[in-house]
């Protein structure tokens, strides 16, 4: 057994998801952690500190600057031979590259893994998390994407050796522009506390109340699909079946009724606190703590109370 894990990183920083993927992958065998990109030496240095990493492989190339799926899949295909498992986070890069790689290697991947039962048996959610399927594979190699939120992070303190590897790939698509959501709040998909709002805020200006509460709590901000569609929040804040899947220790849902596709994104949340005018809202019925009330009265009071 030997595992190759693709590190997730952005803007020169290793993503918090990677520590979780490494911890999950370590149960499958010794982990080599691949850092692909351009100018990623600081990312590689961070990666080397993660417990459980045998060595860090660094593919540093202009062709990998935008981590296009064509280039990442080609790189992974070239490195694949000695590994029994190739693992990535179920995030933008992994979702894009792992199925492409699978087709190239004529393998059936298992994506969005939420539990690992030994080297060939995995759980993954289907139907927006309303069912969990357990699959096993008799293939000689296993390609996985793992939901970071379902696993605890690896600790640091390691000093794994760093080996450069030849990138040997060309980017196919031309990267034209990044439209980033600027925020100094924690990353949504791995945050310990998430505060989220729904369409009942009524405007982007009023939705700022969610960010204000998040700031007080050191939390990430989430939003429902309807709130994003209405333009109150950017698309990368969307939580749900088609947005981000989160599993914070504490989830505070404000004015969110709890549509099926939204609940799919928060099933891993340990504690749910809900604030809603409608006591019959589905989310109010599954919340650990619920308050029936007007969010425009309750939330400012909550912010003031927490600041005290």
């Amino acid at each position: 057994m030997a595992v190759l894990v693709l590190a997730e990183h952005d803007l020169g920083t290793l993503s918090a998801a990677t520590a979780r993927i490494v911890a999950a992958a370590e149960t499958l065998g010794p982990v080599d952690l691949l850092v692909a990109g351009q100018g990623v030496s600081s990312v590689a240095a961070e990666a080397a500190k993660l417990a459980g990493v045998e060595k860090v492989l660094v593919a540093d190339s202009a062709a990998l600057a935008s981590l296009s799926p064509e280039a990442v899949a080609a790189l992974l295909a070239r490195l694949a031979e000695p590994y029994t498992h190739i693992v990535a986070a179920a995030a933008a890069t992994g979702r894009d590259a792992i199925p492409r790689l699978a087709a190239k290697l004529d393998l059936m991947p298992v994506t969005d893994v939420v539990a690992i039962h030994g080297p060939t048996r995995f759980d993954r959610p289907i139907y927006a998390g309303n069912a969990i399927e357990t699959v096993s594979s008799g293939q000689n190699k296993h390609l996985l994407t793992i939901r970071a939120s379902a696993f605890r992070p690896a600790v640091t303190g390691n000093d794994a050796p760093i080996h450069p590897v030849e990138a040997g790939v060309a980017a196919v698509a031309r990267f034209l522009a990044a439209h980033r959501t600027e925020s100094d709040l924690p990353e949504l998909s791995t945050a310990q506390i998430v505060v989220a709002g729904g369409v009942s805020f009524g405007s982007a200006e009023k939705f700022a109340l969610v960010s204000e509460l998040a700031k007080v709590l050191g939390a990430a901000v989430g939003a429902t699909r309807a709130a994003v569609d209405a333009g109150y929040a950017p698309n990368d804040w969307q939580v749900g079946q088609t947005g981000k899947i989160i599993a914070p220790d504490l989830y505070i849902a404000i004015g969110i009724s709890g549509a099926l596709q939204h609940l799919a994104g928060i099933q891993g949340a340990k504690k749910i606190i809900a604030i809603n005018k409608d006591p019959e809202a589905p989310l109010m019925k599954i919340a650990d703590i619920a308050l029936v009330g007007d969010l425009f009265e309750v939330v400012p009071q909550l912010i003031a109370g927490l600041k005290r």
């Binding site: 952005d10 935008s66 799926p69 064509e70 995030a91 933008a92 979702r95 894009d96 590259a97 792992i98 199925p99 492409r100 699978a102 087709a103 004529d106 059936m108 298992v110 994506t111 969005d112 959610p125 289907i126 139907y127 998390g129 309303n130 069912a131 969990i132 399927e133 357990t134 096993s136 594979s137 008799g138 293939q139 196919v172 698509a173 031309r174 990267f175 034209l176 522009a177 990044a178 439209h179 980033r180 998909s189 994003v228 950017p234 698309n235 990368d236 088609t242 220790d249 505070i252 099926l260 596709q261 606190i273 604030i275 599954i286 703590i289 619920a290 308050l291 029936v292 009330g293 109370g305």
Partner: protein, 252 residues
Amino acid sequence: MKILVAVKRVVDHAVRVRVRPDGSGVETENVRMSMNPFDKHAVEAAVQLGEAGHASEIVVVSIGPKQSNDVILTALAMGAHRGILIEADGRVETLAVAKLLRAVVAEEKPDLVLLGKQAVDDDSNQVGQMLAGLLSWPQATFASEIRVVGDGLEVTREVDYGRATIGVSLPAIVTADLRLNTPRNAALPMVMKARSKPLAVRPAAAFGIDLTPRLKLEKVSPPAERVAGHRVADAAELTAAVQSELSELEAL
């Protein structure tokens, strides 16, 4: 350009599925079925490209049981020109679906293949990427905007940090995200007209592709149930509850 759109018939997204007591899967008997919502966005994108004068022909293909006819008719009513149903019963894995689609691409020679980013039944999010891999074509997944620029496309994609715009040459694979467009509801005359559009039915076995699943589906289980918690009366009680949660988190 010629566009191929792949669509799947799934349990309607508004249906709350039930896991069968024997763990063999979810109950799909007597359950409302419809076109996978993301595939509807893909069809709509193709029809809009056609209306803007960019598509000479739109072919829609579905792989599944014979009832998948319904979703092809829906796509034809929305404005696709011709349908292909590849009849396959039982579980067809994404890799086999991608191989069947590759065979259709070899016959139809489209410049663009549009698919939904994922099907809401198995939530795999794999087929578009796999088809791109099999064909060695560029892929632009999770598209929220498609623009024809010169003889290629500029596609804005939904990514973890927001959005990213990439340029791809044709032929290419694009998978649709939900903010790509608002799919139309076909008017009755279009629904009637759809029935007279060509629809070829072919058995999956005729393609000579091994459809045997690679993964063993051991069981399907319901998710852990959440138990209802308690209500607090006002903001002061709520504040106290949040504070006690925070101190518990700090203790961890």
